[in-house]
Amino acid sequence: MSIEVRGVEKEFGGFRALDGVSLNIREGELVALLGPSGSGKTTLLRVIAGLEYATGGSVLFDGEDAGARHVRERRVGFVFQHYALFKHMTVFNNVAFGLRVKARATRPSPEEITSKVNALLNLVQVEQFGSRYPSQLSGGQRQRVALARALAIEPRVLLLDEPFGALDAKVRKELRRWLRGLHDRMGLTSVFVTHDQEEAMELSDRVAVMNRGRIEQVGSPTEVYDSPATPFVYEFLGNANRLPCRIEHGSARLGETVFTDATGLADGDGVAFVRPHDIEVTSDRLALSIPATVKQVLISGAVAKLELTMDPAPGMIEVELPRGAHWGAPFLAGQKVHWRARTARVFPASAGASPVAAPEVKAAG
């Protein structure tokens, strides 16, 4: 089922949690809402689910206004951040809940419920824990049970709030891969909220990057990473060096050196973003290169990280070199070098909203 979010606004006592958000989610897509805390991503998810009324705008499911239906009739599968499993019920009864509360006319028979619940427990690989209480399960198992419970009502969309937030790194990775597989098999339209960019990049078909109640950019993981639309997205996704610069006649200057193209931008102050792995470092002067001094060299796994200081100094620049490339002729701390950006992106300084966290609203928790 497709979801269309149209100009949704939400205010909590004067605080604008959502400020005119529009988003189209295609059938069968897995979309990540990515943003820092307080960016409104959980609020948006709750508005889509119907747990929160939008102050303005509308949400459409398959072109039909979802607001016309009560939450219980929307058939939305929702997985809460802390799972919200019914503590006083066994795992089996948790999963069976959605089937047992159906009106008598549409309720499956007890035998059908039993076989359906068992099939779901099988699907999420907790079949042996049916008679346990949620408190007797590990975090990852609870997460799976929460998912099985949400799937029991055969939802039209699956919404997940920070689905891996409370799990340790290893379980998180495993579950992430497993969830992606499950999504592909079931063909459900899914939306999940996360503040972890790696998670959003690995898991989703498209990412909606949110900041201060707005969507800054929507696109495939490669799109948003390779061509961020705003300074915020640049800084939030992956590492980026932020370099204050001057824009003059369509090119950007650091100090006296023109270092990258800025066609189409008006003259004035600008901010350039360069990813650490998009920087070349040489000991010789090249066209468009800027002199700097190596301050520190750190070897971290497969990459060598260099910290360069420029003189006169507008700060420090982080560079990541593949370790192989660094190996041949290693740079040493104190060495005079030249660097240049393979690709860089310049924004006018006025657009330079840095990722500042707005106050966390209650709904995000």
């Binding site: 939450v71 219980r72 802390h82 919200a84 499993l85 019914f86 006083h88």
Partner: protein, 294 residues
């Protein structure tokens, strides 16, 4: 190496207090309990049996005493369910919803705790009494509230008003609304959500509330004394019967009835302990909440 070390040489666990402090604290607690709980109870029993078992038996089988026991149970049997219904709905509204006037409602629930029971009784005399606001109308229609059983019930209900709600509200607030939201999203109606999710999660608080409410309903003296009018055999509950016997210098009889009242309290405690023991495992499972949240 560990096995070879004698037990005595092992250093005390780092979170334990020194021996003297430990026993001083335990001793104080035990002494306090003896002085203020066990000794008075023992005194009641010894006084009750001071004239022998025959007198005791005669005192508790006295027709007026039996009537007072019946009346006490009747009053509790009506006012406790009323306050369960009220307390549950109030706790549900306060813990799970946001609405205007919530803090006023919370204050109102506590009112019976802050008002002296005697005042509580007087309120009803002023309202329903012959000189009261609606007293004359009641008399015209031959409805008796004050100095009759309905008055006892109304006064007791007022005094025991806060118990159930007070026990349930903090727990229900602490539990938040995630589970309710989950239930609604799974298609449950408000009614189903309440009975299948909210209430089961709060049932232990409800039980404690009911037990406390019941204990107070049976033992209430002040408010009941004002509205009762002390009509022997008609409007005397057990506490009033005890007082009347005492004032008539029938100490043994008075303490015998008192021992019955104390027995009811003990029964309440036993019921609570039994339930906890029967459902202990489930209770523990519920309290070790998922996600570290309780």
């Amino acid at each position: 190496m560990g096995q070879a070390t004698p037990r005595l040489l092992r250093p005390p666990p780092p979170t334990t207090e020194p021996f003297a402090v430990k026993w001083a604290l335990i001793g104080t607690a035990v002494l306090f309990m003896l002085l203020f709980l066990v000794m008075p109870l023992a005194a009641v029993l010894s006084e009750a049996f001071s004239r022998g078992i025959g007198t005791y038996w005669a005192a508790i089988t006295d027709p007026y005493t039996l009537k007072s026991v019946r009346l006490t149970l009747l009053v509790a049997a009506i006012s406790v369910p009323l306050n369960v219904a009220f307390g549950m709905t109030a706790a549900w509204a306060i813990a799970k919803f946001e609405f205007v006037g919530k803090s006023v409602l919370i204050t109102l629930i506590d009112l019976p705790f802050s008002v002296s029971p005697v005042i509580a009784g007087l309120i009803y005399v002023l309202m329903f009494g012959a000189q009261g606001w609606i007293g004359p109308w009641l008399i015209d229609h031959d409805i008796r509230i004050v100095f009759a059983v309905p008055g006892l019930i109304v006064a007791t209900t007022f005094v025991t008003f806060p118990f159930v709600a007070r026990e349930m509200i903090p727990l229900m607030q602490d539990q938040g609304t995630d589970e309710e939201e989950a239930a609604i999203l799974l298609g449950a109606s408000g009614w189903q959500t309440f009975w299948r999710v909210t209430l089961p999660n709060a049932k232990w608080a409800l039980l404690y509330g009911v037990l406390l409410c019941n204990a107070r309903a049976m033992g209430e003296f002040g408010a009941v004394a004002v509205v009762s009018g002390h009509v022997r055999g008609v409007t005397t509950t057990m506490p009033l019967q005890i007082e009347m016997l005492y004032n008539e210098y029938k100490f043994a009889a008075s303490f015998a009835v008192a021992s019955l009242l104390a027995l009811l309290a003990v029964v309440t405690l036993v019921v609570k302990a039994t339930l906890e023991w029967r459902f202990g495992e489930e209770l523990a499972a519920v309290h070790r909440a998922p996600g570290g949240k309780v």
